[in-house]
């Protein structure tokens, strides 16, 4: 029950933050896109750097207040580095990740996002089934 409440409340905050970005800045809250274009010199730079600063600084504050809310990776650092490269390449080619396609895209009933979400859910679940959930 606690997991359900935390999940729904956490999700609601994510939805609220994404709606705020749309209402104020007119932008989609897609983290991979915001990070990938962080230092582009167009007019979106202020919102991107502000949003990223909010994410990282708040993460640091939460880590100091509640260290148990954060976990280390399950697999070794070389595996995590390889996974990071895949996530960077994949989200750039696919134009989005769990937030942009998963939350914002599904909410707009974007066919492109629906295809992306089904695809990455399937390959992620297959990866865990093959590699295993533990080190």
């Amino acid at each position: 029950m606690v997991a359900i409440v935390h999940g729904l409340t956490g999700g609601a905050l994510i939805g609220l933050a994404s709606a705020m970005l749309l209402l104020v800045h007119g932008r989609i809250a897609g983290i991979s896109g915001i990070l990938g274009h962080a230092v582009d010199t167009d007019q979106g730079r202020t919102f991107r750097l502000g949003f990223l600063a909010g994410l990282v600084v708040t993460g640091a504050i939460l880590a100091a207040l509640q260290p148990s809310a954060f976990g280390a990776g399950v697999h070794s650092l070389p595996v995590l580095a390889f996974a990071g490269v895949l996530v960077g390449i994949g989200t750039t080619l696919g134009n989005g990740c769990t937030s942009g396609h998963g939350v914002c895209g599904i909410s707009r009933w974007s066919p492109r996002s629906l295809v992306a979400v089904v695809t990455f859910m399937v390959t992620a679940a297959l990866t865990v089934a093959i590699v295993g959930a533990h080190a």
């Binding site: 997991a3 935390h6 956490g10 999700g11 609601a12 905050l13 994510i14 939805g15 609220l16 933050a17 994404s18 709606a19 104020v24 007119g26 932008r27 989609i28 809250a29 979106g44 202020t46 919102f47 991107r48 750097l49 502000g50 909010g54 994410l55 990282v56 600084v57 708040t58 993460g59 939460l62 509640q66 809310a69 976990g71 280390a72 995590l80 580095a81 390889f82 996974a83 990071g84 490269v85 960077g88 390449i89 994949g90 750039t92 080619l93 990740c97 769990t98 909410s107 066919p111 492109r112 295809v115 992306a116 979400v117 399937v122 390959t123 992620a124 679940a125 297959l126 990866t127 089934a129």
Partner: protein
């Protein structure tokens, strides 16, 4: 100053939501993806909560002609469902399943996730730069 502060506030709320939802614990994310094993359903509720709130507010925000602090809404302009989209999403999913990190939670975990998150984020940025270089090289 105001656009930066409001964007940072949205980023802060987003970070609290991810952390409260358990997405900053890679073992939990992998547990959610482990559908054939000891499945942990919590992240389904995170997705549901986010989509319900965003989809509801979207209906209201869409009635506006322009955003509060920008001259227009930047809706996605790419609509093609092609090999690039499916291939990219497939590659992203493999990396997500291997690590338990997607981009948002990895950034939020930079301070609290020890070396794991730092190594992951540096590699992710390298992957993004590599993919964009490849794009520019192909024109």
């Amino acid at each position: 100053m105001k656009p930066f502060v409001l964007a940072a506030t949205a980023g802060a709320l987003f970070a609290i939501g991810l952390t409260l939802g358990g997405m900053t614990v890679p073992a939990k994310v992998i547990g959610f993806l482990d559908v054939s094993g000891a499945w942990d359903p919590q992240l389904a509720f995170v997705m549901a909560g986010a989509i319900i709130v965003y989809a509801s507010l979207l209906r209201i925000i869409r009635r506006r002609a322009v955003p509060l602090l920008a001259d227009r809404f930047h809706w996605p302009t790419v609509h093609a469902i092609d090999a690039r989209l499916v291939g990219g999403a497939a590659i992203f999913g493999i990396g997500w399943g291997l690590s338990g990190y997607c981009p948002g939670p990895a950034l939020v975990s930079l301070a609290g996730g020890a070396a794991s998150a730092i190594v992951f984020v540096v590699a992710m940025i390298a992957g993004m730069v590599f993919a964009r270089r490849l794009d520019h090289a192909r024109g």
